[in-house]
Symmetry: none
Subunit: 498 residues, 2 copies
């Protein structure tokens, strides 16, 4: 094989994967936005074929040979090409180790599980979901062995979502979170509570849409490259660094819901839009890991979006969009309201302070499920006990308890911790950012140029060129979870006069 020919094939292979991903993304986007309701069947046929073609491509012997050849000529490749070969070889080996029949069986199982979970959640019937969940757990234990048989199964699964993270690392992280935040939340609970009732006045969707446009502007999201749509669950979907979509969900009795969805998804979008052009249409584009991605979305959502300077900057504009609803409200009241701490049942609606405890509960349960020290049937009992212990709330039913999230039904075990890691990374990014520049004067004027440039420089541009650990090192320095707990302690001590 000629090296130049091999490099052309390498580029074409990645463009094909990009095309399959774009196709599936477009079909998915359609399905959750405008598709008529009884059209799932035909879309399923198309998505199944596309997934099969993409899997066949990535496990073909020709691709194996191509990657071997390029690995042998590593020294002749550019750094970017080397990294492409490394990442593709890693995927190739992993995918090749999963027997085709098991992969197919698993695909059918997750498809079925999604249906069963929906029904179980609707009727709050965990027993209905348990048998499928058990199968999913067993598949994941088996797959963990294919991913990396030298590791404990849960470590191998964690590595899929946040390469380098393992139980030793997460036990220490969540240990700090538990030790520092649980007492803090208790102390807050004993203080007079913040009044956020004005956030639940009537906020018409039309006015909220205009407010979203304004937020997109403040976030400096170029509408020529970043669309905003409406779906039941907000998400970010990237086609490439010139085409990213975010969605939000408007609730007329809540101002903060969509506001923080837009800022959160906007943070994800800024990451994708900030990736270097030369990484486009390759396996190195896209945010490097779930944890790093969440660090960006939660940075914008919480560290910036729920800061006093930011609220002070945008509040006059908020009053213009909602003159009646906010006429008797001050910026300070708004700042306090969007930071109200309220232990609750639902992770996706949790405040900045309690959020990581929701995640910790799932981490503890997953860890035991995968190492088989917890039986599937006992999940509800452990779930409810931990919610009482960490958050002080009573879980009234499994619908609002262990059936609330879709992740397990989709076969994702090891995904949750990344949600909390992101917040911790973000706090360290802020610390470093503050050392290098005056963050808050500009934010206080509604100018996020500096923040955007810093994150673009340290994180966004690299896409997946560096590993998650390298990106974290680059933007955070040595990982230290107390920076995160200190950040929260300081902010909420002031807010609640602790």
């Amino acid at each position: 094989m000629e090296l130049n020919y091999a490099l052309e094939q390498l580029s074409l292979l990645q463009k094909k994967m990009y095309a399959y991903n774009s196709a599936s993304s477009a079909l998915y986007l359609d399905s959750v936005t405008v598709a008529p309701k009884d059209t799932a069947e035909g879309r399923g046929v198309a998505l199944g074929i596309l997934a099969g073609e993409s899997q066949k491509l990535m496990t073909s012997p020709e691709v194996g040979e191509l990657l071997s050849f390029l690995s042998e000529h590593k020294s002749e490749l550019s750094h970017v090409e080397q990294r492409q070969v490394e990442e593709l070889q890693r995927s190739y080996e992993r995918m090749s180790r999963i027997p085709a029949d098991e992969y197919m069986e698993y695909a059918i199982l997750t498809n079925e599980a999604s249906d069963v979970w929906h029904k179980a959640k609707e009727t709050s019937d965990f027993a209905l979901f348990a048998p499928v969940l058990e199968k999913l757990v067993n598949f994941n234990i088996k797959f963990a062995g294919y991913y990396d048989s030298t590791k404990a199964p849960y470590d191998a699964l964690l590595d899929e979502y946040e390469r380098g993270a393992d139980m030793a690392f997460l036990d220490e992280f969540f240990g700090t979170v538990r030790e520092r935040l649980v007492p803090l939340i208790k102390a807050i609970g004993e203080k007079p509570q913040i009044d956020d009732s004005f956030l639940h006045r009537h906020y018409p969707v039309e006015a909220q849409r205009k407010f979203s446009d304004y937020l997109m502007e403040i976030l400096q999201l170029d509408r020529g490259h970043c669309g905003i749509g409406e779906t039941e669950h907000p998400f970010t979907l990237e086609f490439n660094n010139k085409d990213v979509r975010i969605t939000t969900n408007y609730k007329e009795d809540s101002l903060a819901d969509s506001m923080y969805s837009v800022i959160h998804e906007g943070g994800h979008a800024k990451y994708e839009l900030g990736i270097r052009d030369d990484l486009q249409y390759t396996c190195l584009t896209g945010g490097v890991s779930m944890g790093v991605h969440e660090s960006q979305s939660r940075f914008y959502e919480n560290i910036i979006g729920r800061s006093r300077p930011f609220i002070e900057a945008i509040f006059p504009k908020m009053q213009e969009f909602f003159p009646e609803q906010l006429k008797d409200v001050t910026a300070e009241q708004m700042y306090r309201a969007v930071n109200k701490v309220e232990p609750s049942l639902i992770r996706t609606e949790a405040d900045e302070m309690t959020y990581s405890l929701h995640v910790m509960i799932r981490y503890e349960i997953e860890k035991q499920l995968i190492d088989k020290t917890l039986a599937v049937k006992d999940i509800p009992q452990v779930w409810n006990r931990l919610y009482k212990e960490y958050l002080g709330v009573d879980v009234p039913d499994d619908r609002r308890g262990c059936l609330q999230d879709s992740h397990w039904s989709g076969g994702s075990f090891g995904y949750f911790p990344s949600y909390a890691l992101g917040s911790a990374y973000g706090a360290q990014m802020l610390q470093n950012m503050e050392k290098e520049m005056d963050v808050w004067t500009a934010v206080g004027k509604g100018d996020l140029t500096g923040v955007s440039a810093w994150l673009g420089d340290k994180v966004h541009q690299y896409g997946s060129l560096m590993t998650p650990a390298e990106i974290v090192k680059n933007a955070c320095g040595q990982f230290d979870p107390t920076v995160y707990t200190d950040y929260l302690t300081k902010k909420y001590t002031e807010l609640y006069h602790l």
Copy 2:
């Protein structure tokens, strides 16, 4: 090869083509509805790759062998399988003749051309579009040779959209149209004109959307399988017979524009939704030709939608949707207004009578473009001359002249004539329908069940199982353009007291 195995492969091949088509459709749908404006580049890369893969699949030696094998075992196949093999073999031979790199290049070009055309139209700058158009013309001349080198290039292109139609056939058809309709239009011009000013009162988009919902209901389009969206240019897009999308465009100063777009696209949708289940995910689904497709859309739009009984049936409901705007209007005035003949500049807004002359102008220009007797740069001049000659109107700029339609930017040459053929087919279908049933009593009650069943039976169900000529024969009998010109003469003689 085992016959059963070969049949499985035949089915899989067609499912793959379906998946590629679905993928491209979803990307296209996104691009014209919600995609941010500066995102064409990445979408072009994905569409190019998908087109390439689809082309590679359909020209692979394995497929060639499969189709040969099945052709040899034709007698052992069902009728449907035989037709699949015939059609696939036809495509296989045609596509095998187009070099893969040219095909890919062309896919990228059409994506780019769409952008350029938009800009050129916006600024009425034909010179901006001309170089791309020239490339598109040259590609089409070259492709025509690949399709069928024994034919004149334009005949080969015509055959792609309406198999069996050629310049000899169309010259005769348009000859009748020219001879019979041009004098009729002149005669109408000398009569007192119909007052349709009330169609241009203020019709708020929100009320028009509700009116569209009503029209979808009257057309008996199941919203669980047929969505309606909004785009600059209305169109119908089918994924399969359970998933069809139509779009419309609301103008607040015009009631009839969107109304007839919905009915027109609804006619296309009814065709696609009426195709038999056993043809789904095969090459035999989808309307059989552009001409037959237009016969359905224009049947609903004009023959039904602009008939006196239909207007009488829906007019009370129209008054409910637009009480202020229509309070001083009668059903008869509405009937006359939606049938006002007014030679104009814009094809898509043309009335039933002048429409085919707009098409004829494009036919004459395309014919000369493809046989190279007309240079691209001279299009505006010829265009403007023909509009004066046939319709008596002066074209003020290219935006409202030769840049008005998107077809050429999409690489479609030979498509236009089908628009006029469809109307002629429709008139013959009506003639036959009237022989077999009482069409107008039910239509006069707003009940289209009978019409729908007749068209479903004679046309829709077959998809592409029969050829266009067979479908036309089945529904129209022997083609005779004077049935169409007689239909128009009778209707407009009464309307204009000629």
